[in-house]
């Protein structure tokens, strides 16, 4: 059976230890050198970056997340021993692990590391589909001759390089489609390398619960449960037409995924549905001035992200959550798509005024939806607002200044509220 040493990258026929370096970190699988679609997922990415940058944290449980009201973004593996999980409310995490060190997220630092990792992946193939800062699909089909090595070797080399050059570890899932690759990367974390081959796909999937299917959340899970479907084997007993009749287009997906079939291509062009930012306040507030400051900052962050991705949106969305968790969402379609913070802010501000919702609020969010390419954005001016063009130019100029001298080189007074 083909095997690979993850430390020295030697390939050989199956053995318990690497014949050349004696390492036990072996991955062997009958289809190891025939599979080419992978999912790379960094291990506790934010927490790992924090630990690397502050060696004092190395042996402590670290939670990355915001404030007392926030939730856990990432926690290191030490914190996970106490039961802390991502997306858990902070107070609960601290109850489970009172000695944890809570670090405020430094998204800019993580984005920087993410860029370095992406550059390493781009040396392997242009077919990369980043899912977030810390995970991506990689399609290495047809690259074996170019690299002189099969995909499995290149992937092992990628994570080894991440560890030696950046001090960050990642787990690889290797399979024959995206669905299975994503499942595989999660099987052996951290520093994992898991393979799901074609021959074992069926046997692997059948006993698993349906929630391993990407996109099956609590709601779908409950609906499936109501139909008596708990495992993928249960799902396989259903005819395609029946699944479609009961679950709509989701039923069609379930039918194919239950059989390990997934035709989606690895492509970076998959455009997000929306770009949004939201903030949960330390203290609930209904003060219009404070909220206005937040709307501006969120609009600016949304615009920054849209600009970075060369996207623009035709719809501005405002989301408010009241102290009793009741949420209000308002959206407004623009005639002309935009990526300009000033326009996003004005629209969101207008939505806020019109929503007439009574505070105090615990959360406010701004998003751009209905996304298009940036070359279709902000193409026509407004006759009745002749200064809009000037403000857009000022914003572009400020962007250029920030790009050169740093994020805080120039800010609007409005952002200080």
């Amino acid at each position: 059976m083909p095997a690979l040493c993850r430390d020295c990258l030697t390939t050989f026929d199956h053995a318990a230890r690497c014949p050349s370096c004696r390492s036990p970190r072996i991955v062997s699988h009958p289809e190891l050198f025939d599979l080419s679609i992978a999912h790379m997922d960094c291990d506790a990415f934010y927490a790992s970056v924090e630990k690397r940058d502050d060696p004092g944290l190395a042996d402590k449980p670290v939670i990355v997340g915001g404030g007392t009201r926030g939730v856990v973004s990432t926690c290191c593996y030490i914190a996970r021993i106490s039961g802390v999980r991502s997306a858990m409310p902070m107070f609960q995490a601290l109850k489970l692990c009172p000695q944890a060190v809570v670090v405020k997220p430094r998204i800019a630092a993580y984005a920087e590391e993410s860029r370095k990792i992406r550059a390493m992946m781009e040396e392997l193939t242009p077919d990369i589909e980043p899912l977030s800062l810390d995970e991506a699909f990689i399609d290495l089909s047809g690259t074996a001759r170019l690299h002189g090595a099969p995909p499995a070797v290149m992937l092992a080399r990628l994570v080894r390089r991440m560890e030696t050059e950046l001090g960050l570890t990642g787990s690889i899932g290797l399979s024959h489609n995206k669905f299975l690759a994503k499942i595989a990367s999660d099987l052996d974390k951290p520093k994992g390398f898991s393979v799901i081959g074609r021959a074992e796909t069926q046997g692997f999937l059948e006993p698993r619960p349906v929630r391993i299917i990407w996109g099956v959340g609590t709601a779908t899970q409950a609906a499936l449960e109501a139909a008596g479907i708990r495992t993928i084997a249960d799902l396989r007993r259903w005819e395609r037409v029946d699944l479609v009749a009961r679950f709509g287009s989701m039923g069609d997906r379930l039918y194919h995924l239950a059989r390990g079939q997934d035709q989606r291509r690895v492509s970076r062009d998959e455009r997000p549905k929306s770009i949004g930012k939201e903030t949960t306040f330390h203290e609930d507030t209904g003060d219009p001035d404070i909220l206005d400051g937040h709307i501006w900052r969120l609009a600016e962050q949304v615009a920054d992200r849209a600009k970075a991705r060369r996207l623009a949106g035709r719809t501005v969305v405002l989301k408010l959550k009241r102290e009793d968790f009741q949420s209000v969402t308002r959206r407004h379609a623009l005639g002309d798509a935009t990526q300009i913070a000033d326009r996003i802010y004005r629209e969101a501000r207008d939505l806020f005024d019109k929503a007439g919702a009574k505070g105090p609020f615990r959360l406010i969010g701004v998003a751009l939806a209905d996304l298009v390419d940036e070359d279709q954005a902000d193409r026509s001016g407004d006759l009745l607002d002749p200064d809009a063009g000037k403000r857009a130019k000022a914003e572009r100029a400020a962007d250029a200044i920030r790009a050169k001298f740093g994020k805080d080189a120039i800010i609007k007074g409005r952002a200080l509220r």
């Binding site: 035709r314 407004h332 005639g335 002309d336 207008d350 019109k354 279709q376 902000d378 193409r379 026509s380 001016g381 407004d382 006759l383 009745l384 607002d385 002749p386 063009g389």
Partner: protein
């Protein structure tokens, strides 16, 4: 109430009433038309609380009275009756039913009491004047395409009718804009309209008003107050609330220093714009105009779907210019031109462009360019 009326007359009178009635409304009485019979006349009144229309028609009234029934249903029944039929409407008040008979057909419709029907409060009109239907038709028809549908700027959801000073003296002026294009249409100020308060006539009212204006020679009595506007012919009275808001100062939007003059046959131009825009699948199709000595090249370049180009012989004597527009806006303003050539006045590729018909300044259009 009991009356007989010719089917065609009844259908015409009901047509306007049923179009004012909102299809989806939560107040049952607003779906009804108020029928009032007295003397030798019957009137049909419908409202959506913002607009009220009263349509009067001659009828043989046997017993005076009033009631209300579903406007849409009554209109549908009358529409389906044979042409030339004599229609009898009878209501005895106690049964809560209106009986409609024509030939061998009999219908019975549920009624609601007339007392429940909201009648728009009468208002003191500060200005009253008479204007030819043809003139009003031109003012509103040429302006209405530019009305905004965006609810956030509700004060643009109508036509701003006001008095102003045009090149040849005082004018009655209609302006509409949505921020991308603007139409400013003038007509000589009718006798008695001096000092009229400017009002924003809502989009729906403009649509309803259009039905009063088909007869060129008819005189329309116009009454204006701060909150309402009324248009009346001998048969129909249309009363509407006006939009409560301030129309923006449009005068600073209309460019005065545009010197680059293009003259082109409007219908040839529109056809060419329409043709080249076909290749674009974007929602806002951008057309590039490249102008050079007596030559106009229209082009569309849509990376995803294709490209198109067309050349037109035009009159243009200024420097080379490249400027882009939303194809839809160009088509709409070009279609307003009906007698002479379209004259475009440009400044730069980023500034508003002005369009008019020949040298006629009584109808000018402004359109914002688009980056291409």
């Amino acid at each position: 109430m009991k009356l007989s009326i010719e089917r065609g007359t009844l259908l015409k009178a009901l047509a306007q009433a049923q179009s004012v009635v909102e299809r989806r409304n939560t107040i049952p009485i607003l779906a009804n038309v108020l029928i009032e019979a007295d003397g030798n006349q019957v009137s049909f009144r419908a409202t959506d609380l913002d607009i009220e229309v009263v349509d009067r028609a001659p009828a043989m009234v046997e017993r005076a009275g009033a009631t209300t029934v579903s406007a849409v249903m009554l209109h549908e029944i009358v529409r389906k009756l044979p042409d030339g039929a004599l229609v009898n409407l009878a209501e005895d008040g106690s049964a809560g039913r209106l009986t409609i008979t024509a030939g061998r057909s009999t219908f019975s419709l549920a009624t609601l009491p007339r007392e429940d029907f909201p009648v728009m409060a009468t208002s003191e009109y500060s200005t009253n004047f008479s204007a030819p239907a043809g003139m009003l038709r031109r003012l509103f028809d040429k302006a209405k395409f530019a009305i905004s549908t965006e609810e956030t700027r509700y004060y643009l959801n109508g036509v701003y009718m006001h008095t102003a000073t045009g090149e040849d003296g005082p004018v009655l002026r209609c302006v509409a804009t949505d921020g991308h294009r603007l139409a400013r249409i003038d007509a000589p100020l009718p006798e008695g309209a001096q000092g009229m308060a400017g009002v924003i006539v809502p989009r729906k009212t403009v649509g309803e008003l259009r039905k009063l204006l088909d007869d060129d020679d008819a005189a329309i009595a116009v009454s204006v107050s701060e909150t309402k506007v009324r248009f009346a012919t001998p048969a129909i009275t249309l009363t509407s609330k006006v939009i409560d808001g301030t129309f923006p100062d449009y005068t600073r939007v209309i460019p005065t220093g545009n010197t680059r003059r293009l003259e082109v046959d409007a219908s040839e131009f529109a056809k060419a714009v329409d043709r080249v825009a076909t290749v674009s699948s974007e929602r806002s199709r951008a057309v590039k105009l490249s102008l050079d000595e007596d030559r106009l090249i229209l082009s569309v370049n849509a990376p995803d779907s294709g490209a198109a180009e067309e050349e037109l012989a035009v009159a243009y004597g200024d420097e080379r210019l490249e400027i882009g527009f939303n194809a839809k806006y160009l088509l709409e303003i070009a279609s307003q031109v009906d007698r002479e050539n379209a004259v475009f006045l440009f400044n730069s590729s980023g500034d508003p462009t002005l369009m008019r018909e020949g040298n006629d300044t009584s109808a000018v259009y402004v359109v914002m360019p688009m980056r291409v």
